[in-house]
């Protein structure tokens, strides 16, 4: 015990040993705004994603209000809502057209401006160079651009507020012909066209980031670090980056074609003789868009969850004081999911009118992808087995990720079965499923990552008390909000409908809709705790030690609040990232950068006495 205290003490001493590595004084706008430092870029992604999280959340609460209380004015801010959003000026009653814009923008913002920038932009930038022990990305300037495309993209998307017809309103999937805005005159920018331009930019941002990640991981690993010495976070981000480079160009091509259909009245996705006021050449195929879109967007589901699977693995190993169970199996499972992710896109299209024979094919490939997912779950459980589990805020969120991912994965089996999907497709069952995966999964994973790396990011500790409160309220309200949505789906409740009370068969669900809305409001407001904690701790948080969680990975070898250039000494890697509770050592962790010999006997690592001794190591562990 005494050695631990000493170690912590030593960490604090080194806490502010900022290191310049020749990065001399730069003007403020190069330090904070157009910085090429990967950690600053990560913070920029954190800030923009947090802002958009609340924008997207606000859209969701409008949707929920309308579903629970159709035709009733939005409380508090209803009278202040713009005239184009409401049925009469000042009435506060949402119009059906605005409702369609809300659901479109909620999905788009949450996926393209929150989850992907958080998971890939923020964690990719922050974790990769630090965890592989290098000073920065391989291509820092490209990295800076990958962030600086996000704000203009967001502004373009949001500027649709000022164009006729408002925001895009064809759903985040934007199926043509609806998204081609048939009937609108050519050469007129509408919300949908702005949506397409905006996503094109976001796609570029993703590609630039991804190319950078792959290059960095392959070329800039610290001395001695083999690929299989990399933490799972880096593996997951690396494989995700490969998915992005393969998938995003396809989306970009599809967006360009749809933009031409929308703006120039070409007919990539429009068949002949549509009954509309505008003239089209025809000869296109609406379902083609769905194939192109889902060819990207199904892998995008994994872009949104694989990095978090990596992060959760690292958090679980650290707080269970155990090696990841089946590290290589975890890597192969990530790779397997990434590969299979490219051949299952058709399961979004079982009812789309594609050849039903393809339904059989895509059903079988989809069912196969459940296998690597379950391997991961079993390995996480195996990691907990015989651990020494400490329930920190980061760990609680990681455990929420695993448990909610189990539910989301199981509900996925229903819709993977094509005949079951006939009935539940486009109902709230699907809505429940994606929220269990993307909120219960991805967002809890993001929270886990924020709680885990905040000390390294800002040099301060987050408040654990408020971290736990944020976790409990979020976890409870999350389940109260999204679990009943399965039930709505079984009842046949269609998604994206403005007023369920129009239908007799949905009349019995009004109470459930109201319940969900109240829980959703609680869920939304719980997130203020997170923001409050982040801001409060920035100023008042306890000063972070160099290695507050006593973890093994390389980022904890860097100073507590590393400056441009990251490390204050040379890093050599001696072992894998998960040597916790090694027999023959006093400490229950053995950092990757610490010299020392060991033998492996029957899946156990045992430390061997070495003349070099542990005392020579910096950080005095």
């Amino acid at each position: 015990m005494s050695s631990t205290t000493l170690a912590e003490h030593a960490h604090v001493d080194h806490g502010h040993a900022h290191d310049d590595h020749g990065h001399h004084h730069q003007p403020w706008y190069r330090q904070y705004l157009f910085s090429t430092d990967h950690k600053v870029i990560a913070k920029q992604f954190l800030l923009s994603s947090l802002i958009f999280l609340f924008v997207g959340g606000a859209f969701a609460l409008f949707i929920r209000w309308q579903l629970a209380y159709p035709g009733k004015p939005v409380p508090v801010i209803g009278s202040m809502m713009p005239d184009t959003w409401v049925d009469a000026p000042g009435s506060g009653i949402i119009t059906p057209e605005f409702y369609a814009q809300l659901l479109t923008m909620h999905g788009t913002v949450m996926i393209f401006f929150v989850i992907i920038p958080f998971a890939v932009g923020m964690f990719g930038n922050f974790c990769i160079p630090l965890m592989i022990g290098t000073d920065d990305m391989a291509l820092p300037r490209l990295n800076m651009w990958s962030f600086w495309l996000i704000p203009p993209a967001g502004l373009i998307m949001m500027s649709a507020f000022w164009v006729e017809g408002g925001y895009a309103a064809a759903g985040w999937t934007s199926y043509p012909p609806l998204s081609a805005s048939i009937g609108n005159p050519a050469l007129k920018l509408n919300g949908q066209a702005l949506w397409l331009i905006s996503l094109f930019l976001v796609g570029f941002s993703s590609i630039m980031g991804a190319v950078n990640y792959v290059t960095t991981v392959l070329n800039k690993r610290a001395k001695g670090m083999k690929m299989f010495d990399m933490p799972l976070t880096v593996w997951a981000l690396f494989i995700t980056a490969i998915i992005i480079t393969l998938g995003t160009p396809v989306l970009a091509a599809a967006l360009a074609m749809l933009f031409m259909d929308n703006f120039l009245h070409t007919s990539f996705f429009l068949p002949d003789h549509l009954v509309t006021s505008q003239k089209y050449f025809g000869g296109g195929q609406p379902v083609l868009w769905q194939h192109l879109f889902w060819f990207y967007s199904h892998p995008a589901v994994y872009i949104m969850i694989l990095p978090l699977m990596g992060i959760v693995s690292d958090v679980m190993a650290t707080f269970s004081r155990k090696p990841i169970y089946g590290y290589k199996a975890m890597v192969f499972a990530i790779a397997g999911i990434a590969f299979l992710g490219f051949i299952v896109w058709g399961h979004h299209m079982f009812q789309s009118g594609m050849n039903p024979l393809l339904g059989t094919t895509f059903m079988l490939s989809t069912i196969v992808i459940a296998v690597p997912s379950s391997i991961k779950v079993f390995n996480w459980l195996g990691t907990l087995w015989r651990g020494n589990i400490k329930f920190s805020s980061a760990m609680l969120n990681a455990l929420a990720f695993v448990s909610m991912f189990i539910i989301g994965g199981l509900s996925g089996v229903f819709m993977a079965s094509a005949p079951v999907d006939i009935y539940i497709h486009d109902t709230y069952f699907i809505v429940a499923h994606i929220h269990y995966v993307l909120f219960g999964g991805s967002l809890f994973g993001i929270f886990a990552g924020i709680y885990y790396w905040y000390p390294k990011m800002f040099g301060k500790m987050l408040s654990e008390t408020w971290g736990r409160r944020h976790f409990f309220w979020t976890f409870i309200f999350f389940n109260l909000t999204f679990f009943p949505m399965h039930v709505l789906g079984v009842g046949g409740h269609m998604r994206r409908i403005y007023d369920p009370n129009v239908y007799d068969f949905l009349k019995g669900m009004a109470g459930l809709n109201e319940f969900i809305t109240i829980a959703a409001i609680g869920l939304g407001f719980s997130q203020l705790i997170l923001v409050g904690n982040i801001l409060w701790s920035l100023k008042n948080g306890r000063k972070a030690p160099r290695n507050p969680w006593r973890a093994n990975t390389l980022e904890w070898a860097a100073p507590a609040h590393p400056g441009h250039g990251n490390f204050d000494r040379d890093i050599t890697v001696y072992r894998g990232p998960y040597e916790y509770s090694v027999e023959g050592r006093d400490l229950d962790y053995w950092p990757q950068w610490e010299p020392g010999k060991s033998v492996t006997v029957d899946h156990h690592t045992i430390a061997v006495a070495d003349d070099a001794g542990e005392t020579k190591v910096f950080g005095a562990h």
Partner: protein, 279 residues
């Protein structure tokens, strides 16, 4: 309290099933549901047990163990067998309900067209056969307009008795009803919750939709694919009638159409027959 608990009895929320294959779909849902509930309790049980048993406390230590290939292979193969079983069993039902070659010989054939926002139906009329229209002849798509959505060719005599219905349709009980669905503008999805039928309808293509209802009554049709602000209002009603009632209704319609088309020889507006009023 009962209301709250009923949330956990998910299967009780299904609307009544009235189609012959509906029960098979519901049973498949139930099988996956029970398997999921079992896996849920198993994994959450293990998770909860580990969290309590291996919680950090004084004197307790972690255990350095990197995993075991035999265990990995076991928990790869077991889910594979389970999921493959679900997949193969599902495929039988999928082929039966959706494959084009498995669509039964129609007792009644109806065309359905989605539009923003509503549904139009075309019955073949007295001769039981469709004349030249956008379904029977692709080139007739050129005739499609807002008032003649099916592109009925007024010059084809077989077309004259084909009649349209707006936002409602009727089918006989215990008969194979085959509908060919399309759209005149954007995507819609033809959703009969009580029949467990859902099929997107795509402009430019005709989709096969079939079912066989075993119970009479009035039910609802909904659109399940976002098609604009009025998406929610694409509600329609349909009636499943006994054979006698259906024949009586059909005879009435046929007579009505014949009566309406008789004076057309003199009247100038030929397209009023095409857009025969519903009901």
């Amino acid at each position: 309290m009962g209301d709250i608990l009923s949330v956990f009895d998910m299967l009780s929320w299904f609307p009544e099933n009235i189609s012959t294959f509906g029960q098979e779909l519901d049973d498949l849902f139930a099988i996956i549901y029970y398997i999921s509930v079992a896996i849920f309790f198993l994994t959450f049980g293990i998770l909860g047990w580990f969290l309590v048993k291996y919680r950090s406390r004084p004197g307790h230590k972690g255990y350095n163990y990197h995993g075991n290939n035999i265990v990995e292979v076991t928990w790869t193969i077991l889910p594979t067998i389970l999921f493959a079983g679900i997949g193969l069993y599902s495929d039988d039902i999928w082929e039966k309900t959706k494959y084009s070659k498995r669509v039964p010989k129609p007792d009644v054939e109806i065309l359905v067209l989605g539009k923003t926002y509503g549904w139009t139906f075309l019955y073949p009329g007295a001769d039981g056969k469709f004349g030249r229209n956008a379904y029977t002849d692709r080139t007739a798509r050129a005739l499609m307009t807002a008032t003649n959505p099916f592109g009925k060719d007024p010059e084809d005599p077989a077309s004259a008795d084909d009649f349209m219905m707006e936002n409602q349709f009727r089918v006989p009980v215990n008969a194979n009803v085959v509908m060919r669905g399309s759209s005149q503008d954007v995507l819609h999805s033809f959703f009969l919750p009580h029949m467990r039928v859902k099929q997107d309808v795509v402009p430019g293509t005709w989709m096969n939709i079939w079912y066989n209802a075993f119970k009479t009554g009035t039910y609802e049709l909904a659109c399940a694919e976002l098609c604009g602000g009025g998406h929610y209002s694409m509600r329609a009603e349909y009636q499943v009638l006994s054979k006698a009632d259906y024949d009586k209704w059909l005879d009435g319609k046929v007579a009505e159409v014949a009566a309406a088309s008789a004076p057309v020889a003199e009247a100038p507006a030929a397209d009023t027959t095409a857009a025969a009023p519903s009901n």
